[in-house]
């Protein structure tokens, strides 16, 4: 090693910094489009799997997946107005960002905050699935605090706005081997066909404390417990209670039940 001088040290650090930062910046800039495309593909796949539009079991080409996703009838709904329409464009609206934006979100009073959210966006992007001119499913985003992490998911309802057509939890960091079973497709399949509300409109759906007893009166409103993950399971129950209660999608679903939405004429979403 050569002799040391402050100038030399400074120059060495400067050169290292410039060279390394150029390499890092270049990799970030060049790979960004691919990463964004991956995110879009993942989101499209999660949502489409709940619409019933994908062929069962088969893998779909990326382009087909994106085309299908773009053809979905996406709406940014106004939760508090119980309205299917708002001024936002569903293709650019950032629902997660909105939940943190004081202009676009509302604080939740602690007594009502079953899902542990603190604030929630007044607007949410939902997806309407049309079949032969009639509404067949609606896909709604849900989220809530689990044991360690925020659980993010989508739930799909049949046109009666009560029967669950599918659920996916696509982001979570619960305990490996226990709470992370929320992300298991095997468990999520058990939700299909269950009901959220009873005849009086009360939310009965919950994660059971053990295996569901088939044939019991409650079986329609229950899915099997997550073994060893009571906190995560209770969080799932609580977040559904919140999102389908009076402070979540409840009013909108009631409005849609009374006056079913009509398929729009000139919107995307009516692929042949």
């Amino acid at each position: 090693m050569r002799k040391e001088s402050p100038l030399r040290a400074l120059l060495t650090v400067l050169v290292t910094a410039i060279v390394c930062s150029s390499i890092v910046s270049a990799s970030v800039v060049l790979l960004r489009p691919i990463q964004l495309n991956n995110q879009l593909l993942e989101r499209s796949g999660n949502i489409l799997q709940l619409t019933g539009l994908l062929p069962a079991g088969g893998r779909v080409e990326d382009e087909v997946l994106l085309d299908l996703f773009r053809s979905l009838d996406a709406r940014v709904i106004d939760i508090d107005e119980a309205s299917l329409d708002s001024e936002f464009d569903p293709h650019t609206f950032d629902g997660r960002g909105a939940a943190a934006d004081p202009e676009l979100s509302v604080p939740i009073p602690p007594g009502d905050d079953l899902a542990g959210l603190g604030r929630r966006s007044r607007y949410k992007t939902v997806y309407l699935v049309w079949r032969d001119g009639a509404l067949s499913r609606v896909v709604l985003p849900i989220r809530g605090a689990g044991m360690w992490s925020m659980l993010y998911g989508y739930i799909s309802l049949e046109a009666d706005f009560n029967t669950i057509a599918g659920v996916v939890f696509y982001e979570q960091a619960e305990t490996p081997g226990l709470g992370d079973q929320v992300a298991s497709p095997h468990w999520q399949e058990k939700w299909i066909g269950k009901k959220l509300y009873d005849a009086t409109g009360e939310i009965l759906f919950h994660v059971a404390e053990g295996p569901v007893t088939e044939g019991s009166p409650a079986a329609d409103y229950q899915v099997d417990a997550l073994t060893g993950a009571t906190v995560t399971a209770n969080a799932v129950t609580a977040l559904l209670q919140y999102w389908f209660g009076p402070n979540g999608y409840g009013p909108l679903l009631r409005a849609m039940r009374e006056q079913p939405p009509q398929q729009p004429e000139s919107r995307p979403g009516q692929e042949v």
């Binding site: 090693m1 050569r2 001088s5 930062s21 890092v24 970030v28 490996p176």
Partner: protein, 218 residues
């Protein structure tokens, strides 16, 4: 003892995980899945090679007072670039590895080899040393992950080997094995086994335990 070979010595004899107990953080965190561990192994080995080569090339130009800064900058850049590549081309794996790819920066094996080998040796030896240490780390990770995924989920690399009890099969999944402490147990057993085989690895005790007083003196 024969002359140490930079490629083979770190596999078991001087394994960075079991002898120096480095790189434990990621060995605990991501070994509940064999796939994640394989990707982590490749990522760490690549970072090691890149940092060792770079530092070995410039080792004679580095003023000693700033050499650690330069080493860490080189390592951090290599890690960031690899993280970006993983996010672009293996997004599912990257989302499962979460922060642990970025945490390779703080993996002591990388800085340790830069200081201990690349600052002194030529490029050829540095590459062999990086590969050797990378493979040594990978070996331990793969053994731990193999055990954990098989016992914890009954699967390997996501393929179901045993039908788990939760889905109607016979294999009872072991939830403890899926939690981080179990990696400690497995690494501990490995360290023990290797030190039985190669007793030179055992450290001398720091002190002699005080002899117990005789029964009648108690």
């Amino acid at each position: 003892m024969t002359v140490k070979h930079p490629l083979t010595a770190p596999l078991i004899k001087e394994n960075p995980v079991t002898l120096s107990v480095l790189g434990i953080c990621s060995a605990l965190a991501i070994t509940n899945s064999l796939t994640s561990s394989l990707i982590m192994s490749v990522a760490l080995t690549t970072v090691l090679v890149v940092s060792n080569v770079t530092i070995s090339l410039v080792r004679n130009l580095l003023p000693p007072s700033v050499r650690l800064i330069v080493q860490i900058t080189v390592i951090a850049s290599a890690v960031t670039v690899i993280d970006q590549f993983l996010k672009a081309y293996l997004p599912e794996a990257a989302s499962r590895l979460t922060v642990y790819v970025a945490l390779i920066i703080t993996n002591c094996i990388v800085l340790g080899r830069a200081e201990a080998c690349a600052m002194k040796e030529n490029v050829g030896t540095s590459i062999l040393d990086a590969l050797g240490n990378g493979f040594g780390y990978s070996l331990i990770l793969i053994i731990v992950a193999f055990t954990r995924e098989l016992l914890g989920r009954g699967s390997l690399m996501g393929y179901q080997i045993f039908e788990p009890a939760s889905q109607g099969g016979w294999f009872p999944e072991n939830a403890l094995v899926m939690l981080a402490p179990s990696a400690f147990f497995i690494i501990g057993v490995l360290v023990w086994a290797i030190r039985v085989w190669i007793p030179e690895q055992c450290e001398k005790p720091d002190f002699e335990p005080m002899p117990l007083p005789k029964r009648e003196e108690r």
